[in-house]
């Protein structure tokens, strides 16, 4: 029985990847869990320079979800390459750098520096809702999306994985633009733009005002978007959004995703990977499948006979 998957030229030992911004730089979890159990790790978003991020409060809980406006606080790409990468060296897991920028040039420059020994792929963050420049402003405009992805593509030989924003009307437009610009895979999705109001103070509950919604609350939206994207392009899609169990991961895989990322669930329980891996193996056993790849894209819609031929 095999959980290994191929993706954008990478071979991952299993389809579970830690999502950007929810797993630090990986090293924070040393000793708490075995990093070599993960298919891959995506770093926190990295710019050229260190960033201080948004004011507090930065995180509030909403029903089955988490609304955050961290604002991409981070150490910057150079400190990551110098201080963090060597510490990840001993682990058998793919290292993916989440590339950020205020300008197209900055994305390309971060990508160039990120092409260091030990980095396996780049994820392009064109979808962060919590920054005034870059982020979602790029990922919400097909022309800008093309420009950023093409610039990063030119700057690196590493696999390039744009991360799509759910805050658009038609995700397939952006999926196709990324494919045309030379992307090797897609990450789908980042957080949904939200607003939570403190009714006593009549002010936003987050200091930044709006924030990005994650966690189980967004899963059906995320599965739908990943499914749409996977049907629109030939490159593989990595599903992200509200995964906390093997069943949740399977929803994305069956809908057509080659791998998945786990975000908010890392905060809830760092032991989540072991539980999901055990659950995936159990699923393959119960369904008599040899490989997780046999499950990918196996979603089937009932035909008219099965549904009794309803009206809509």
């Amino acid at each position: 029985m095999s959980l290994a998957v191929q993706l954008a030229g990478l071979r991952l030992k299993n389809p579970l990847i830690a999502a950007s911004g929810t797993f630090g730089y990986g090293v924070e979890y040393e000793g708490i869990l075995d990093l070599s159990r993960l298919g891959g790790i995506v770093s926190k978003g990295l710019y050229l320079e260190p960033r201080d991020g948004c004011a507090v409060p930065r995180i509030v809980e909403t029903p089955s979800g988490l609304l955050n406006a961290i604002g991409l606080q981070g150490v910057g790409i150079r400190a990551f390459v110098r201080d963090v990468l060597p510490r990840l060296d001993g682990y058998d897991t793919a290292v993916i750098v989440n590339v950020c920028g205020d300008t197209v040039e900055e994305y390309a420059e971060v990508a160039r520096i990120a092409e260091a020994p030990g980095v396996d792929a780049l994820e392009i963050n064109i979808s962060c809702p919590n920054v005034k420049k870059g982020g979602m402003a790029f990922g919400g405009d097909p022309r800008m999306t093309h420009e950023v992805v093409a610039a990063v593509r030119k700057a690196t030989r590493l696999p390039v994985i744009p991360k799509l924003s759910p805050n658009v009307a038609d995700v397939t437009v952006f999926a196709r633009v990324c494919e045309e610009a030379g992307a090797d895979a897609l990450s789908c999705i980042n957080t949904l733009l939200g607003l939570a109001v403190d009714v006593e103070r009549r002010m936003p509950r987050l200091a930044f005002g709006t924030g990005g919604l994650s966690g189980p609350a967004i899963r059906p939206v995320a599965v739908r978007m990943a499914w749409q994207a996977a049907r629109a392009v030939r490159i593989p899609v990595i599903g992200i959004g509200g995964i906390a169990s093997a069943e949740d991961a399977l929803e994305f895989l069956i809908a057509g995703c080659r791998a998945v990322q786990i975000g908010t669930a890392n905060f809830v329980d760092p032991g989540v990977y072991s539980r999901i891996l055990a659950g995936l193996e159990d699923y393959l056993r119960r369904h008599g499948r040899e490989s997780i790849n046999d499950v990918v894209g196996s979603l089937r819609f009932p035909d008219a006979e099965e549904t009794g031929g309803g009206g809509c």
Partner: protein, 289 residues
């Protein structure tokens, strides 16, 4: 910002509840079995814990470790029920499990040999001082506590602390128990008796911590404060718990994670709400001038 590896990392486990003791009002004591927390905790550290695997409420919550019992592999929390996460913990029955990660965070540093430790607690802020009082006593240090609440019912940590045999002065805002007035006033009154060298330690609501920090500055005594921000992960990855810290040599304050670099900070380094800089920075600037 990148956390350094601790030689003794925290452990994530499903922990069974072994004892539950309701106190008055919204307070209770909960004891769980967790060998690493029982064996490794230093006073001031905390756990992230959640009663069940439901999606709502979603995240684990932070709680100071009030006492440890290494022989039984257990630790005890002093809990005040304020919302759905604390409610779910309070509703656990013996044998039921909770997801728990710990021990986490920077503990209280020991005071200098010749200092008396003044432990200033508000509400559930007494919890880490039960363990710290025990550590101080075992180390042969002098210590006493000042414990404040709105009303007598809020001083439910009185018995666990006095069981240590250390002096405890209680204060209530309404005068229903102990001194009538604020806990920092009681500390100030004690300092007026010229007790010799002291180090302040404070844990409680923000306003009390800030008052304790101002008192320490006025009286020129060292102070450590245990901050109480909202926490999402406990290990430095969600960046939700950051507080403004400015050391003497830093021209600007920096957001630092309370979960990994705190929750205990030197009060001089904290940039308090409504203040533009830290005491450490102001003092350094004054020396330069």
């Amino acid at each position: 910002m990148v956390a350094t590896t601790s030689p003794r990392p925290p452990a994530s486990r499903d922990v069974p509840l072994v004892a539950r003791r309701p106190l008055q009002g919204p307070y209770l004591l909960l004891t769980f079995r967790h060998p690493e927390v029982a064996g490794r905790t230093r006073a001031g550290q905390f756990v992230m814990i959640k009663a069940n695997t439901a999606a709502d409420p979603l995240l684990r919550r932070p709680f100071s470790i009030m006492s440890v019992h290494p022989a039984e592999d257990t630790f005890t929390l002093f809990l005040k029920v304020v919302g759905s996460g604390t409610r779910a913990l309070a509703d656990l029955r013996s044998g039921e499990t909770a997801g728990c990660l710990g021990p986490l965070g920077r503990p209280f540093p020991m005071p200098p040999e010749d200092h008396e430790a003044l432990l200033v607690a508000g509400g559930y802020g007494i919890a880490p001082f039960v363990l710290f009082g025990d550590e101080l006593r075992r180390a042969g240090r002098r210590a006493r506590a000042f414990y404040g609440g709105r009303t007598s019912g809020d001083l439910q940590g009185h018995d666990p602390f006095t069981a240590l045999g250390l002096p405890l002065a209680c204060c209530t805002d309404d005068g229903s128990f102990g001194h009538h007035g604020r806990v920092t006033d009681a500390v100030e009154a004690y300092l007026d008796t010229r007790p010799g060298a002291v180090t302040l330690y404070a844990c409680g609501p923000d306003a009390m911590l800030h008052a304790a920090a101002r008192l320490a500055e006025r009286r020129n005594v060292p102070a450590q404060v245990s901050l109480d921000p909202w926490m999402g992960c406990g290990v430095g990855t969600c960046l939700g718990c950051v507080v403004r810290i400015q050391r003497a040599d830093e021209p600007r304050g920096k957001y630092r994670c309370a979960c990994t670099e705190g929750p205990v900070f030197d009060a001089r380094d904290v940039v308090w709400a409504g203040e533009g800089s830290s005491r450490a920075r102001r003092e350094a600037a004054a020396v330069l001038r």
